[in-house]
């Protein structure tokens, strides 16, 4: 029989944890942060494994994307620091869609842009690729136009991008409406030239009102980037969707998500139910899971997962997770 003095318990704790951690450190296994490298699929880094914790510079380095292409395609201010993490952008940067509605920047935008840019032919993204740090983007991602913009080799685009002409305006605007895109009068371009650098970085925006900065010239659906007020905790609260009274920007973006069926590779807040049905998740399954009647709640196949979440009083992420789990891989 060996008695254990209670004073020795801290020593045992110290030994157990100290030795285990020490050995793992010596062997190089210990890591409290993810190595900033996406998983490798068929010898290439998987763009759909890009995480919100990656910085802009890391993404560009890993995938060999020139800064001008990356910044232009995603509408980032040219003087934005390369160490800015993608999930920080989600809080600070908004685009404005064709109707003048602000749209969140999304990590998934980056993933799809990179995938298109490098010509990714690997497997489609899974839920694990996107869950957790994805954006709440509800419109077509900014990267969608990449197919018609520059290539890694700087080739001319295959189609003429219907570039949104954005006037450079660094004057503080009183409302979000003022940040709506200018009329689509700019000449089309066949090159992937990046947009002129904005004069104000997001982080340096001093005024609480949104400021319009140029959108990328090479993106047919490009829309202005609106900087969120510095002192804003949540962009959701500050930038409530605002209708575009002038109808400016019509035709530049496509606010109807159902027309973007081909772009939906994973469930997101803006994914229409019609797409979800095609993934094998039926209306009945959704009604049963979220205990609502679609007819009663006015949900149609054009409604989005976000609409469903709102109607069911659930978190959008819960709805997405459910769809991810049930969809035919």
């Amino acid at each position: 029989m060996k008695r254990l003095n209670f004073y020795t318990i801290p020593l045992i704790i110290l030994l157990c944890f100290g030795l285990t951690i020490g050995i793992s450190m010596l062997s190089g296994y210990w890591s409290t942060e993810r190595a900033k490298l996406p998983r490798v699929v068929d010898g290439s880094y998987d763009p759909y494994d890009i995480r919100g914790s990656y910085s802009i510079g890391e993404v560009m380095d890993i995938f060999g994307i020139p800064k001008e292409d990356f910044y232009a395609a995603l509408g980032l201010p040219a003087n934005m620091c390369g160490t800015t993490r993608l999930n920080e952008l989600e809080k600070e940067i908004l685009r404005v869609d064709a109707n003048g509605n602000p749209v969140h920047f999304g990590v998934s935008d980056v993933r799809t842009f990179v995938a298109n840019y490098i010509g990714w032919t690997g497997p489609a993204p899974t839920d694990a690729d996107h869950s957790g740090d994805e954006s709440t983007t509800t419109s077509v991602p900014a990267n969608a136009p990449v197919e018609t913009s520059s290539t890694p080799d700087g080739d001319a685009p295959s189609t003429e991008p219907a570039t949104a002409p954005i006037e450079e305006n660094t004057t503080p605007a009183p409302t979000a409406e003022n940040a709506a895109p200018a009329p689509a009068t700019a000449p089309t371009t066949q090159t992937a030239a990046p947009a002129p650098a904005p004069t104000k970085p997001v982080a340096e925006t001093a005024t609480p009102a949104p400021t319009t900065i140029p959108a990328p010239a090479a993106t047919p659906e490009s829309t202005p980037v609106v900087t969120a007020p510095e002192n804003t905790a949540s962009t959701d609260e500050t930038h409530t969707p605002t209708p575009n009274p002038q109808g400016q920007g019509q035709g530049q973006g496509n606010p109807n998500p159902s027309e973007h069926t081909e772009t939906w590779t994973d469930p997101r807040g803006g994914t229409p139910l019609s797409v979800v049905y095609e993934w094998g998740v039926s209306r009945e399954m959704l009604e049963k899971e979220f205990k609502i009647d679609f007819d009663e709640k006015g949900l149609t196949s054009d409604s989005t997962l976000k609409d469903l979440a709102t109607a069911a009083g659930a978190q959008t992420s819960d709805v997405r997770n459910y769809v991810s789990a049930k969809m035919k891989k």
């Binding site: 029989m1 060996k2 318990i9 801290p10 210990w30 942060e33 995480r51």
Partner: protein, 273 residues
Amino acid sequence: MKSQKVRLAVQIFFLILITVFAVNHQLGERGQAFLPTNPNLHSICPMGGVATLYTMITGDTLVKKVHESSVVLMWASLILALILGAAFCGWICPFGTIQEWIGKLGKKIFGKRHNHFISDKMRNILKYMRYVVLVILLYQTAQLGKLAFESWDPYHTLFAIVSDELSILAYVILAVTLLASLFEERAWCKFACPLGAINGLFNKVSIFKIHRNKSQCIDCGACDRSCPMSINVQHQDKVTDSLCTRCGKCVTACPAKSSTLEYQIGKFSEVSK
């Protein structure tokens, strides 16, 4: 009582450690981290290692937000459990520490009624809920490839309370958990903690256990009354209940001879009688 002061010191140390990491991580989200490393809360919790076991075995990856450190800490806590039983819960876990302190407040408010709002029978049934929670979490995490409990884990909510990633549900669960600790000591640990469920299993096989020397016991019941987990120590030869956190309060409370209740290897021999 000195042994309880040692335990308190260890608890405070780990509470401060985790708080520092949590604050650092929150500041790190804003680019203001003050430590050279910026681990998230999941990467310094052994439960992350448990949750990712399935994806580690079936694939070659860890679930989102879980890092190798979680796996290492899981092994460390399992080794500790093999030696001491669920001492991790009673000596290290900062969430358990917070509940324990709230429990002290509850004791002042409710007096002797504190920790006796639930019958022993009901408590013995409810403690198995931990295993239900554990199975559900492991299944969901395996299905989703992400931490299924991330959105409502009260430990995570408590230490990331200013995070804008938390849902209302997370705050509600944290509030309910802490409020419940006023009535029932370590309510979360007793009825819902999946890590405690695993650690508790080791109480039956750990090298050191708390043994009772029947020949010296005066059956005063002080050990029972002092046990925060409401274990019936007085009528056991050794404490193997899965709820035991190895806090040692029963040992400290024992008014009989010093060798009546001991944390030791093996049974009391005739010599010790």
